[in-house]
């Protein structure tokens, strides 16, 4: 009897150790993967980054490549997207948490938002091209690209704002109503200030997504490398960093430049992630105090 028992125990022990080891190995593998990507890209990219690359535009006369226009285009598109997506996303979130009483409407809106976040970016690019570039006659332009990204990022901003609106205590609203404030006044003075952390989180997440987006911009914002001001830039075609990485790597074989851009994107992604983490932690702490 005793031997049978210890046999079962040994079997059990081996199984437990094995499973635990498998879990640990998988996690270690994931980490190693991230580390490899980070080190490889930085090692290949950083030596190719030069002041000249960052501050000049591409010259077909001398054949020199500069990515200043691409950096600016990325900034323009981020700014333009946020300008449009913030009011839309915050407004939608306010409607859902403050106004909507009909459960069915809420369900439909939330289902629509989930659908939007599941649609692949290449489809956004296609519809953006058909609707903004052709139907609304914007041509291939940064503005058309930005508007396409507005649709893509709307669910993100909406969701983060909604989350933080839910944390505004009901008693604040009741207090304001009790003092005789109208609904709009309550929203403006009590509810909206309370959701600022959600809006900021939504902004950070959107910036991260826009930085990495390429498929949706290929046919809406185009490939041009011209150096423009903000408003002039919005009206004309332009490649963002990701799109120009693709063009340099896949179509022109300029791998040095491609890796330099990849390294820049990697550092920016790292920064965005850190920022999101810090902001998230700070807001959590603040909520706990309240």
């Amino acid at each position: 009897m005793k031997t049978v028992n210890s046999k079962i125990n040994a079997k059990r022990k081996i199984k437990v150790v094995l499973l635990r080891a498998l879990c640990g190995i998988s996690a270690a593998f994931t980490c190693a993967l991230v580390l490899f990507l980070l080190v490889y890209i930085l090692a290949k990219g950083v030596p190719n980054i030069s002041w000249e690359l960052l501050t000049t535009k591409r010259s077909y006369l001398t054949g020199k490549i500069g990515i200043l226009p691409d950096i600016l285009n990325t900034v323009y598109i981020i700014v333009a997207t946020l300008i449009f997506v913030l009011p839309l996303g915050v407004g939608a979130a306010v409607y859902l948490t403050e106004y909507a009483k009909n459960k069915r409407i809420v369900a439909v809106i939330e289902y629509a938002a989930e659908t939007l976040s599941g649609i692949p970016s290449i489809i956004y690019g296609l519809v953006g091209m058909l609707f903004f570039c052709q139907f609304l006659n914007m041509q291939t332009s940064l503005l058309a690209g930005a508007l396409t990204l507005v649709i893509m990022n709307l669910p993100t901003v909406m969701r983060t704002t909604q989350e933080s609106l839910k944390t505004v205590p009901q008693s604040y609203r009741e207090g304001a109503f009790g003092l005789g404030a109208g609904k709009w006044r309550v929203i403006r003075t009590v509810v909206l200030p309370g959701c600022i952390d959600g809006v900021i989180t939504g902004c950070i997440l959107s910036v991260g997504r826009i930085l990495g987006e390429s498929a949706a911009l290929l046919f809406t914002a185009g490939f041009a490398h011209a150096l423009n001001g903000f408003f002039e830039g919005l009206g004309s075609a332009g490649a963002t960093l990701t799109v120009s990485l693709y063009v340099y790597a896949k179509e022109q074989g300029e791998f040095g430049v491609a890796f330099a851009i990849a390294a820049i994107l990697m550092v920016l992604t790292l920064l965005v992630n850190l920022l999101a983490m810090l902001v998230g932690r700070r807001f959590k702490r603040r909520q706990n105090y309240e």
């Binding site: 059990r12 437990v16 635990r20 498998l22 879990c23 640990g24 190995i25 998988s26 996690a27 593998f29 994931t30 980490c31 993967l33 991230v34 990507l37 980070l38 490889y40 890209i41 939608a92 409607y95 106004y99 909507a100 409407i105 439909v108 809106i109 289902y111 989930e114 939007l116 599941g118 649609i119 692949p120 290449i122 489809i123 956004y124 690019g125 296609l126 519809v127 609707f131 709307l154 669910p155 909406m158 609904k183 990495g212 987006e213 390429s214 498929a215 046919f219 799109v243 990485l245 693709y246 790597a249 896949k250 990849a262 994107l265 990697m266 992604t269 790292l270 965005v272 992630n273 999101a276």
Partner: protein
């Protein structure tokens, strides 16, 4: 007072419009894809379009069969799931249940970095590391293949699988685990025999989300898969539904262009099916 009421109604109306705008966008996308996608299917014939194995859009006698793209997308996604899900699942069990807090913070940070890396960067690394590696390892003339795409996709879906699974595993009531521990099961046995089955809807949702991500990915795949419209072979150059749209769009015209829209419509239908499945599992895991 009346003025005040009218104003409040006006504000309410504005917020209602803002709220309904997401619905409007979904309708806009659906409508545009249907309107743009139907004409080519009608001209080519739905049977010929979906099940013809030959895509030769620029030939003098063009042929528009997208079966190679559909199969490539299905095989590519299946491959990515086969490779990605076990690693992602085990990592999530480790992070949710086994890892000490400090390690957890570090690994979670790494996972969210993985999620944030732009797809073109994955594509670039795939082009420079994976494709030559596959060529040397398997002695084939070109490493740009379905296999390379599967590996890239498997890595790209890891974060979605890990994050959604962790959420599901953490939502398992502590009483379940306590009961199992009290009956003499070891912690690891408890996690695999009790927590995982209890979280199975959430984990299914994670897999479905991974499927959606993999089937919709375009740029990274375009850079490593070779892009020839062949029937899928593991070490052959292939084209996915997404890359079929992306690779010809810039120079297409006429029926060829319309056919590309039809491909997008087919892709959209796949995504809607996956979304429905995702919602089903998410709802069930909430219950």
């Amino acid at each position: 007072m009346k003025k005040q009421k009218a104003f409040e109604n006006f504000v309410h109306g504005i917020f209602l419009i803002l709220g309904l705008i997401t619905v409007g966008f979904v309708l806009l996308i659906t409508l545009y894809l249907i309107i743009a996608g139907i004409p080519a299917i009608r001209k080519i014939g739905i049977w010929d379009f979906l099940f013809n194995t030959k895509w030769a859009s620029t030939a003098s006698e063009p042929s528009y069969g997208i079966l190679p793209f559909i199969l490539t997308s299905v095989y590519g996604t299946a491959g990515a799931i086969v490779l990605g899900v076990p690693v992602g699942f085990l990592t999530s069990v480790y992070l949710a249940k086994l890892a000490p807090a400090k390690i957890r913070t570090v690994v979670s940070g790494a996972v969210s970095l993985l999620a944030g890396i732009p797809s073109v960067v994955y594509g670039l690394v795939g082009m420079m590391v994976l494709v030559p590696g596959i060529r040397k390892l398997f002695h084939i003339p070109d490493g740009a293949s379905l296999f390379a795409a599967i590996i890239v996709l498997a890595i790209m879906i890891l974060p979605s699988i890990i994050n959604v699974s962790i959420t599901a595993l953490e939502a398992v009531p502590k009483e379940y685990e306590d009961a199992s521990l009290a009956l003499g099961a070891t912690p690891v046995e408890t996690y695999f025999r009790v927590s995982v089955p209890a979280a199975k809807s959430g984990i299914a949702a994670a897999v479905v989300l991974g499927v959606g991500r993999a089937i919709g990915e375009a740029m990274a795949v375009m850079m490593v898969s070779g892009n020839a419209p062949n029937m899928p072979e593991l070490f052959g150059s292939v084209r996915f539904l997404t890359t079929a749209v992306a690779s010809e769009m810039s120079y297409s015209s006429g029926l060829q262009r319309q056919a590309l829209f039809s491909i997008a419509l087919v892709l959209f239908l796949f995504i809607m099916l996956i979304n429905a499945a995702l919602n089903f599992f998410l709802k069930r895991s909430k219950e």
